[in-house]
Symmetry: C2
Subunit: 759 residues, 2 copies
């Protein structure tokens, strides 16, 4: 049964699997090789057939291309287990990617397209003395007429537009073409009693005052009728909040009760993520336990409200609609959603473990994030992901597997999507962390090409309404008012070219749900997969390009060498390349997060593109290099997302001799605590020890969840020898609120930076 | 049964009704008075109790205010009919407004909130020798805390925000507070055989090439199993396209077949509205007819596409979504949707007859309209409306009964809305005229206050997706990109004040789904309901105000006397008031329709606010005075909506001595015929006979569904004596394409117009 942490009286069997490949559905594999489950077909072949390893080194990833059009068949053999009377042997899999048939002893039991719908098959009646279970996986989905694969473009993803397979593996600007398949989540044989649960969820509805919850235990299973159930809900300190027992009358049953004054679950930064424990036990007449289920329950109410000020905008005819709501309210309090976009932590999703999630969610929390947008190009995560987000107070914006494609209106696709989305909704909806359902990524932009009329999105809205009506649903991101981009420190496509500092101050969005600044990977990381002779200078048609430093998005992405040389002059070492690129990423992202917060209350969200990466990317917008190696920008973003901080609005990064330095100080407060008055001093630090006071602001403090803004200050830049200077913002008696910013300085007739320039 | 035109072998009985009112649910009426069915409770009381009549004269409408909080009970008495064995006596009503209980001989049979769900009750088993059927109608819906009625404001409508009762009767800028109730549509007793149909619809899906239809006959009824059915679909010329017969196996059955090369239904201006006739007969074993049903079927495919050019807009970061699709495509061809907003044709909806619809739809067609937006403040029309639109090729944008309110998320409201919307969708979806479902009017604007997250709109999207997925659904109008307003010839709230001519050229909307210019009612119409002593000059607190000439929207709406006097000087007669006001309405609306068409292909729709009115309005944006009296603007709009015409873009209406007249000629073509080249001459006509050529354009013609644009022309205005001048646009050898425009001329030091000035 699908629930985690179930008390099982009986056996769970993880059989040994083999795998083979074949070019037609009917053909038998020429050979069978050992398979790891969960895993991926590519990894099994790589291990067995002496491929170049590791797969992420240099160009090794290209070795897998041939597999796309092959069938792969898993098989396992097992003797009939010793079943007691009434016992059942079931096959359970939480994920098989993507389109497959399952047979036992040559008889087909199931054909399924879709990797997010759990497989649960009762094998008992087909068992022989020796049994062979086969899982045959079809070739990857392709669409007639969609573009062939061309390195350096990402149009190959269009082959995913008629399937519910996440599009990312067809290749993205940070993900190679590597279309994964295989058994990718927990999979086993299980001996069960004749009575067992197939679903057990706790749902609830809070009243308007949040003082009372109507709690419902929803049970589904086999042979439940007539059995006894015991249900308890206990607090974190072990007190019993709900205790009910009785006799079940059918195989689908809901038990409803009221809970007074539930302790509320809060997202990180706004309170404690309080979780109750629900335990259900099913017993027979002799009070013997037949099955049981544990889960966590967090009580919270989520709304997506109009941004503050939006309704008050002046009416100008012809009037269009007001912009879409983008302000999250949890338990009656608006929050500022600070977070990031989550992509696969591993290119081979079968390699993702609880520990993978645990580390990364911890890192997200330590970056002062309170929300993760689970990007629609990737998978819906495994169960432990949601459990961990519940525990950590990390909100989840969950997209369905649609991204940057015009998904078809064909009935066959809609049927698969309905099956997959229903499974996803029913699995995730009981989690306290769930904040937003979203149809997918960038579907209403030209490169997506869908509209409000697209049947897939109307279906998803309808399913979410039917199955989980009180969780907000957005058809895609960006909606009107939200912003995606830019993704460069200096973007030539905006007007006459703009730094992050300029476009972000000009922008007036309700929510910045994607934005990025690329940074090269850390030095020691690069050395692990770029062959030594290719390391410096970085060139096209080397591992740098395979790993997305060139031609990954636009021509120069994501290394952006022309920009780096325009700012920093000729770059003569890998060390300089790394530190200059990472400096712009750090300062750029810091500015965007802080500026989004300075635009509060009108703006309500800032989520950078992207948090991590599924394999080593040589230059990327990510904060965390694969696997879990922090880039310097991570620390700057974490500082920019502190609940309270002093912040500077500054018009640009690159300053020239003779200019006046300009800045506006802010005290940013995302908490519901008022912040006390304080002197805030802005100081320019340069040439290794010199300093000049820019301004002192007698800050009146900041009310609950409100910022405070000081006056604009101006100071003629001193003559400097160095190519960089720092500005510190210090809060009297509250050094935890202090901030620091690094800027470039360019003397007359200078280009680039002086040799050896430090910051 | 709900279908029209059913062949009935048995009796239909229209009993005599009485009505009485009482202040509590339990109380009996003090007296019973005759009732007209269909009708309205107000009309029955008015007739019986010697109210001032007609209800639309002067302030007579205020006589009904007291009734809002009373219960009204209808009753009718009838003897047991002489039923043959197996026959049933049923009560059928197509509409009872709004929240009611039905009882027979003191036993409650039904309690229903909702006026759009047909009532169909089998009374047979409860019949006595003498029977009394009662329909008790509850007081009007009111919401605790919603604003009390204040004349001159329209906030009273907020009492409708927790019900599915159309909000308009709570008062609007052109509708008095007159909250109607009563039996408002066809209602009767009927003797039926034991087998009868309760629903019979024909649905279909066309293939991509439109060459084949998968046609489905959907039957529901009583005791159908085992009965024989015959189904035929015949063409307009009487040829049989489908003929099927067989035995039904259940009471709910779908019979499916294919039709090759169906003749397509086209909207007015794009082809013939071809309709097939479907006939179903249910027979018993002896081949005796038990029930039958006729309906019309038009084969067409509707899509709502992105407007041309929208996907090609340059990408600017941060990027929001592209604007919502607003371009209707019928049978694979984009059309330019020219039409109007439809409100109640009668304040008492029980008075609306087939003839009412017939006249008005004919008028709409003669105005060259191809679409009616059935505004969400009003009702969903009776069945014959949709039949007539099918026949006339008039597309229907059908809104659900939500308008300008923040409809509640409460479960009780959502349940009523689900019931009502389900009834509406199932009734209307089989009509070829249906082009768009819409959640309602102006819900995403500040005065509506709903958002994409509002559960009522998510419910409606979900229901439309489930029951009628291939008809476009929009949650409301305006969506992003669409425009509502302005509603004035000269709007002081736009910038420093703008004429229609200015804001409309500045506007850049995908669709103008509401816009208006007010005009006073026709002279003879005004005299019918404004008492003679109040007629001139028009004043506040007279019948002029009751009939919306003052304080109806903003202070001066809809008469707009300050504007009229600013343009035309002191107005000294009712005749001058009417002609000046109607001139601005005519020229303003003509300009908007033509400018919307000039903005093609980017713009795809123009629907003025509003077509007609439900009672006599003294000054209003309507084209047609109640009842069916055409205002001059009707004719100008009809001319502006001709499929092909020569058109002028002119920067303004009011010209001053010494200025250069400026214009840009266009040839507008909304047809799929190419238009031949022609000389087009623009001539200025003034002072009763003088003329000056402005320009001659050698127009290259216009391709299919494309406009052609000439060069801007400029001419110093001649000195004129008159206060008005005309500009004619003449198309050589195609006078049907000619156009004429009237402008004002003001000499130096003049204010207003010269006495007796003619145009």
């Amino acid at each position: 049964m699908p629930q985690q942490n179930n008390k099982r009286l009986l056996d769970k069997i993880k059989p040994k699997w083999e795998i083979g490949y074949h070019f037609s559905e009917e053909a038998a594999p020429e050979k069978w090789i050992p398979a790891t489950v969960p895993g991926a077909v590519q990894l099994d072949v790589m291990q067995a057939e002496n491929y170049q390893q590791p797969y992420w080194y240099a160009d090794n990833v290209k070795q897998f291309d041939w597999m796309e059009d092959y069938y792969f068949t898993y098989r396992t053999s097992f003797p009939r287990p010793d079943l007691h009377p009434g016992q059942r042997l079931c096959f359970h899999s939480k994920g098989i990617e993507y389109d497959f048939k399952i047979s036992l002893n040559g008889t087909q039991l199931l054909e399924q397209e879709g990797m997010f719908t759990y497989v649960d098959l009762d094998l008992t009646d087909q068992l022989q003395d020796i049994n062979e279970l086969q899982v045959q996986i079809k070739p990857i989905p392709k669409v007639a007429g969609a573009p062939a694969y061309t390195p350096g473009t990402d149009t190959y993803r269009q082959h995913a537009r008629e399937s519910a397979k996440p599009a990312v593996s067809y290749g993205w600007d940070w993900h190679p073409r590597l279309v994964t398949r295989g058994i990718w989540d927990e999979t086993y044989l299980e001996v069960r009693s004749s009575t067992y649960l197939t679903a057990s969820t706790v749902t609830y509805q809070l009243n308007e005052e949040l003082s009372q919850a109507q709690v419902q235990l929803n049970l589904e299973g086999k042979a439940l009728a007539g059995k006894h159930y015991k249900w308890s809900l206990t607090t974190e300190s072990g007190q019993i909040a709900i205790a009910q027992e009785g006799i079940l009358s059918s195989n689908t049953e809901s038990i409803s009760t009221q809970l007074q004054e539930p302790a509320l679950w809060w997202p990180s930064g706004y309170g404690s993520p309080t979780l109750y424990t629900s335990e259900v036990t099913i017993l027979n007449a002799e009070q013997e336990e037949l099955d049981s289920s544990h889960s966590k329950v967090g009580f919270r109410r989520v709304k997506l409200l109009m941004n503050e000020g939006e309704w008050d905008k002046p009416l100008v005819f012809p009037a269009s609609r007001n912009r879409a709501p983008a302000s999250l309210e949890i338990n009656g309090r608006r929050i500022f959603a600070k977070g990031t976009n989550w992509v696969h932590p591993e290119i081979f999703i079968g390699l993702i473990t609880n520990e993978t999630y645990e580390k990364q969610i911890q890192l997200a929390k330590e970056a002062n994030f309170n929300i993760l947008r689970i990007w629609g190009g990737g998978i819906t995560n495994k169960e432990s992901f949601f459990d961990l987000c519940d525990e950590q107070g990390m909100l989840v914006w969950q997209e369905f597997p649609l991204a940057c494609n015009n998904y078809t209106d064909k009935a066959s696709y809609l049927a698969v999507l309905e099956q997959e989305a229903t499974s996803i909704i029913n699995r995730v909806k009981a989690h306290a962390c769930l904040a937003i359902w979203s149809g997918g990524n960038e579907l209403f932009n030209a490169w997506g090409g869908m509209t409000d009329q697209s049947l897939a999105l109307r279906l998803l809205n309808s399913l979410c309404y039917r199955l989980d009506p009180y969780t907000p649903f957005v058809p895609t991101s960006p909606l009107n008012g939200m912003g995606h981009g830019s993704y460069l420190f200096y973007d030539k496509t905006i007007g006459t070219g703009e730094e992050v500092f300029q476009w972000m101050q000009r922008a007036d969005n309700t929510a910045y749900t994607e934005f990025g600044v690329p940074g090269v990977a850390n030095l020691e990381v690069l050395k692990q997969y770029i062959p030594p002779h290719e390391l410096f200078p970085p060139k096209r048609e080397t591992a740098w390009e395979t790993h997305h430093a060139f031609g990954a998005w636009r021509k120069d992405s994501w290394l952006e060498l022309p920009f780096l040389e325009e700012y920093f002059g000729e770059i003569t070492s890998l060390e300089d390349l790394v530190r200059f690129s990472q400096l712009t990423q750090s300062e750029g992202l810091k500015f965007i997060y802080e500026e989004a917060r300075r635009q509060k209350p009108y703006c309500s969200m800032a989520l950078n593109w992207c948090f991590q990466e599924p394999w080593p990317v040589a230059a990327n917008n990510s904060l965390v290099n694969w696997p879990n190696i922090l880039k310097p920008a991570y620390y700057e973003v974490a500082a920019a997302c502190r609940p309270v901080l002093a912040s500077l609005r500054v018009p640009k990064f690159l300053w020239h001799e003779g200019e006046d330095f300009i800045c506006e100080p802010f005290l940013l407060n995302d908490t519901y605590d008022p912040i006390a008055p304080a002197q805030i001093t802005v100081t320019l630090l340069y040439d290794g020890g010199k300093s000049l006071k820019v301004t002192t602001w007698t800050c009146p403090g900041a009310p609950e969840f409100q910022n405070s803004q000081g006056s604009k200050a101006q100071l003629p830049l001193p003559d400097m020898h160095g190519s960089f200077f720092t500005v510190s913002v210090e809060v009297e008696s509250n050094p935890a609120y202090n901030s620091r910013y690094t800027f470039m300085y360019r003397g007359k007739n200078e280009t680039g930076v002086k040799p050896g320039a430090a910051f």
